[in-house]
């Protein structure tokens, strides 16, 4: 490896470009390989696709790590690769890795065609990575759509299942509708600045707002175009971030989708959407063309309040987590609103913790789903903790992390973004967010209550008396993969709560390269 490194500096521009997309390319390559497994009946039936996907993601992570520290721009500025991307690539790849890990049981359980499944997950991952890395509006649009189409397909993947199809349908109609706004917004941005490249737009706007002191006259006329363009563009992204009132797809799609995909949507797509929004925010929104923080403020407050309130009475675990993810989006947005290096770093850190707690929670949900639970109604969790002690403990911890209780990453993340917002003077926002976390704790706790504190009325599970044969971690038909996923999530959730400094450093490194653009 060491020998190759110096040589890179001598590469020509195409080679540099290729270098900048190696992680994505690796994932796509493996996606194709996995897909081609379908040609061979025998291989296709085996677990090869599962392992190949994992290997592919691992390779990609390896490449990301190898490339880290480099500042690359490829394809005439279409994509960039810098510290920001390193962080988010790893986040996305980890989320994909976890998704693949938790998928195996589920696929076997539901008898889904799996090489395609893994392949599309890999394509989705690559789309997300492109989305994060993209540096012009065309790239943003096309990779966003790429990601969306992958997720539509995955959402409706359980064929013959009305819920799955319905979820896909709703997701697709709404997603396309939102995309239309996004493109239409791009038209106006384009009309206002005449560039599609984000850096160019940034430079252009910066010259206007800072270069000429009496910027108002030049901005006038263009200002409205830019405003409407950015607002409509934001709608498209807010949809992916599932911010209220663009959240409507979230509960239904999360509910109907295969659970690993729900996990994937909740982690990967959300991270990618936030990442690209953060990049565009820093490059464009943050230049004081108009004050976007007002509207983001409102969106953040509405999202967390709606998400939390709606989740309170949710009877279905997946749905509950879906509402919770809306609320979490609100919290994450606080970091962006808070702004500054501190705020961006906080946002990234929060995103990172968010992966593990959400993916972990969904992994546990999958375990429950695969075992003896009739439906994901919370009632059915009654007393399950005594049957699956380790899994339930992990679930409890993920819930606590989502609720923002200390010793978990969720707390540190919340603390980070909240203090960033306070630092920028958004006192009320933080206050509302904290009140929100207070009553949000109720529904997270509700799950723990059901798992650990069964009452006689709603228990159809025989766990209460404590069959108590399962002391260990692995129980019955739960595969090692999913347990591994839970352990990974548990480890990261805890370590990020106990000693977050390493991750903060990582986020700082990432945020630094974001802000330096």
């Amino acid at each position: 490896m060491h020998n190759i490194m110096p040589a890179i500096y001598g590469l020509n521009s195409l080679e540099k470009s290729m270098l900048s997309i190696i992680p994505e390319a690796v994932v796509i390559l493996f996606a194709f390989i996995v897909l081609f497994l379908t040609f061979f009946e025998k291989i296709a039936k085996s677990k090869n696709s599962y392992y190949l996907s994992l290997i592919g993601i691992a390779f990609s992570i390896l490449y990301v790590v190898m490339l880290s520290g480099r500042n690359l721009t490829g394809f005439y500025g279409s994509v960039v690769f810098n510290g920001y991307d390193v962080f988010l690539f790893i986040a996305i790849l980890l989320s994909g890795f976890l998704t693949v890990l938790v998928s195996k049981d589920y696929i076997e359980n539901f008898d889904l065609p799996y090489p395609e499944f893994y392949s599309i997950i890999l394509f989705g991952i690559s789309a997300m990575m492109f989305l994060v890395a993209s540096n012009n509006l065309i790239m943003v649009f096309i990779s966003l759509e790429f990601m969306s189409i992958c997720s539509y397909i995955l959402t409706g993947y359980i064929r013959g299942n009305a819920r799955s199809t319905e979820a896909a349908l709703k997701y697709l109609i709404l997603g396309t509708f939102a995309s239309a706004f996004l493109i239409f917004g791009s038209v106006f941005i384009y009309a206002a600045v005449g560039h599609l490249n984000l850096n160019s737009i940034h430079t252009y706007l910066e010259n206007i707002s800072y270069g000429n002191n009496g910027s108002a006259s030049i901005l006038s006329g263009m200002g409205e175009y830019l405003s409407i363009g950015l607002l409509l563009f934001m709608v498209g992204l807010a949809f992916k971030m599932s911010l209220f009132p663009f959240h409507a797809w979230t509960p239904d799609a999360y509910d109907g989708a295969p659970t690993p995909i729900t996990s994937f949507m909740a982690t990967g797509i959300k991270i990618a959407a936030f990442a690209v929004f953060l990049r565009i925010y820093v490059l464009i929104y943050n230049i004081n063309v108009i004050n976007f923080n007002d509207i983001l403020w409102v969106l953040a407050v509405l999202s967390m309040t709606f998400g939390n309130i709606a989740a309170i009475l949710s009877a279905n675990v997946k749905r509950l987590l879906a509402y919770s993810s809306i609320a979490q989006a609100g919290y994450i947005l606080i970091g962006i609103i808070g702004g500054g290096f501190y705020g961006y770093s906080g946002t990234l850190f929060y995103l990172f913790t968010y992966i593990f707690m959400t993916a972990g929670a969904f992994a546990v949900v999958i375990i429950f789903e695969n075992s003896d639970i009739a439906s994901l109604d919370i009632k059915n969790l009654s007393g399950i903790a005594y049957k699956y002690p380790f899994i339930s403990a992990a679930m409890a911890l993920f819930m606590l992390s989502l609720a923002g209780i200390p010793v978990t990453g969720g707390f540190m993340g919340k603390f980070y973004v909240f203090s960033a917002a306070v630092k920028s003077g958004y006192y009320w926002l933080v206050f509302i967010a904290l009140l929100n976390s207070a009553f949000a704790a109720y529904y997270y706790i509700k799950i723990i209550v059901k798992m650990y504190m069964p009452v006689k009325e709603d228990s159809n599970v025989s766990c209460i008396a404590g069959e108590g044969k399962n002391y260990g971690i692995v129980n019955g038909n739960i595969s090692e993969g999913i347990i591994l996923a839970v352990i990974i999530c548990l480890f990261f959730t805890l370590i990020m709560g106990v000693y977050p400094q390493i991750f903060i450093n990582f986020a700082n490194y990432s945020a630094a390269s974001l802000a330096s653009l």
């Binding site: 009305a162 239309a180 509910d255």
Partner: protein
């Protein structure tokens, strides 16, 4: 010049109106196509006005995406029709609350 954008806006809004008030999934899908096309028109017009090409390139990608989306969307609609026997979007009501 502005006229093109106005027309684009009108078509966009008609598309949105179609999505808002029709329940037939096929027509909703076509309305979405209308919205995409409105955006395309805007891009071409702006790019013409600014003597640029990148807007036109964008249009090509929008078309590609529209095609891809059409494939997936119609697939989903067909699947939906198989299950419900209708293309009425109100019948997609299993997932709620």
């Amino acid at each position: 010049m502005n006229n093109y954008l106005i027309v684009a806006g009108i078509i966009f809004c008609i598309g949105a109106l179609g999505v808002l008030m029709r329940k037939n999934l096929i027509i909703v899908f076509m309305s979405l196509e209308l919205m995409f096309n409105a955006a395309n028109l805007g891009f071409v017009a702006v790019s013409n006005r600014l003597n640029l090409i990148s807007g036109d390139i964008f249009v090509i990608f929008v078309m590609v995406v529209a095609a891809a989306e059409a494939a997936v969307a119609l697939g989903i609609i067909v699947a939906f029709y198989r299950e419900k026997g209708t293309v009425d979007m109100d019948k997609a009501n299993e997932l709620k609350n």
